[in-house]
Symmetry: C2
DNA sequence: ACCTGAACACCGTTCAAGT
DNA sequence: ACCTGAACACCGTTCAAGT
């Protein structure tokens, strides 16, 4: 029997939970979570869709595992970043989450908007392990329970707003965007802009991408505010 | 011919774009955007799915119209709120957007996360009319172009983070949540919390809902920061 | 043990046909 | 002019069957 000699008809030979999750993430990175289907994923793995159900409970579970993996990768990178001030910790954390958003702009909406498993797991900091690290680090720096929890909330909200916006800008495929500052008659927005003179006039300024600088100054503002709240 | 005497077999008699959008919003408010389908919407309107395509280009267009209607309602309420300081304007705007999030928690994710039509339309302030009002109001209070645009960005990010989190908490259906502070052995999270002592200990504090108060103090912090940036 | 074929109950959407 | 039946190309998921 000639079992191993004909070449694999698809990239991966043996199925595994890990391979499924990795391939799902790759497909999401390529074309968004919207267009991921059990069937297309199976096809890329060289298998029928039903085979996936041996390793994953269903599509919802699969997406949860993808999020889990992204969070896990991030958390392990964070452990190395030890600092002496709480500001340093929050800065390192913020940069790691931003890195996730920038490297996976099409997957980040999943991290940011999938319904959390528990009410005390707020996106985008959605792993128990990470939240525990967050809280115990701040408590270690002398925060009270209330201060640590309040900081967790402010910080989640800051990261969510800032990074979801940045990811959505970066996640858009570069399609007919290259030429959008030409054509002042505005064929893409037609008459909508006629009644919006300021938007029309400020369009170039509004379209500028200052995400990185904005992120850093906004982060400093948050840290300043927290420092003042603690001192008082 | 007895044309008008037999009772309507379904709620709405005559189809219209407006009825379609209203019913779609009602269905989203009830059970989330996820579970809205052209077929279920048609059924609620007493019609076949294909009839909807006379009034709406497709599902994507329909969702865009729902968002448009929510934004329109909000914008018209805002016009009445005239104020003497820019702080008052931003406060009124923030409260209107929050009201939208609180009244339509299951529809708000649509406002917050659907890909914007243009890069200078940032969620959740996603109508040209509203952005124009925003910019011209601030310019009218003496802001420079750069200041107005920067304020638009900070404010969008603040509203998005704060309100998406609040809406996601409020959007969850009250199912087996009533009793979740009993049962300290934690059957819902099982062993996950065993390695997360701080999360376990602070669970009650983390689960508290302080959204309204938090929103107000966070808003004040944003306004303070803007005022300081302007003065310097 | 691991994968699959066939089937079920759904989707969004098109188009020729009905009234 | 407005609605529909039938069809197409998809979905997620189950389950008995294959190897």
């Amino acid at each position: 029997m000639h079992q191993e000699q004909h070449p694999a008809p698809a990239p991966t030979r043996r199925l595994s939970r890990e391979a499924i999750i990795d391939t799902a993430l790759a497909q999401i990175d390529r074309s968004g979570a919207q267009s991921l289907s059990m069937r297309s994923l199976a096809q890329e793995l060289g298998v029928e869709a039903m085979s996936l159900y041996r390793y994953v409970e269903g599509k919802d579970d699969l997406l949860e595992r993808v999020v889990e993996q992204l969070m896990g990768d991030m958390t392990s990178r964070l452990d190395a970043d030890l600092t002496e001030h709480w500001q340093g910790f929050l800065q390192a954390l913020a940069n790691e989450v931003r890195r996730l958003a920038v490297e996976h702009p099409k997957a980040f909406p999943l991290v940011a908007t999938r319904p959390p498993a528990a009410p005390w797991l707020r996106p985008p900091l959605r792993s128990v392990e990470l939240v525990n690290t967050f809280l115990s680090t701040l408590l270690g720096f002398g925060f009270t329970d209330e201060q640590a929890v309040h900081t967790y909330r402010s910080f989640s909200s800051f990261l969510l707003g800032q990074l979801l916006l940045e990811a959505s800008v970066r996640g858009v495929d570069p399609v007919d965007t290259p030429f959008d500052d030409a054509d002042p008659s505005g064929d893409d927005d037609e008459s909508t802009l006629a009644d919006a003179p300021q938007v029309l006039r400020l369009r170039p300024l509004l379209s500028e991408d200052r995400s990185e600088a904005e992120f850093e100054t906004a982060l400093e503002a948050v840290l300043d505010r927290l420092a003042r709240d603690l001192a008082q």
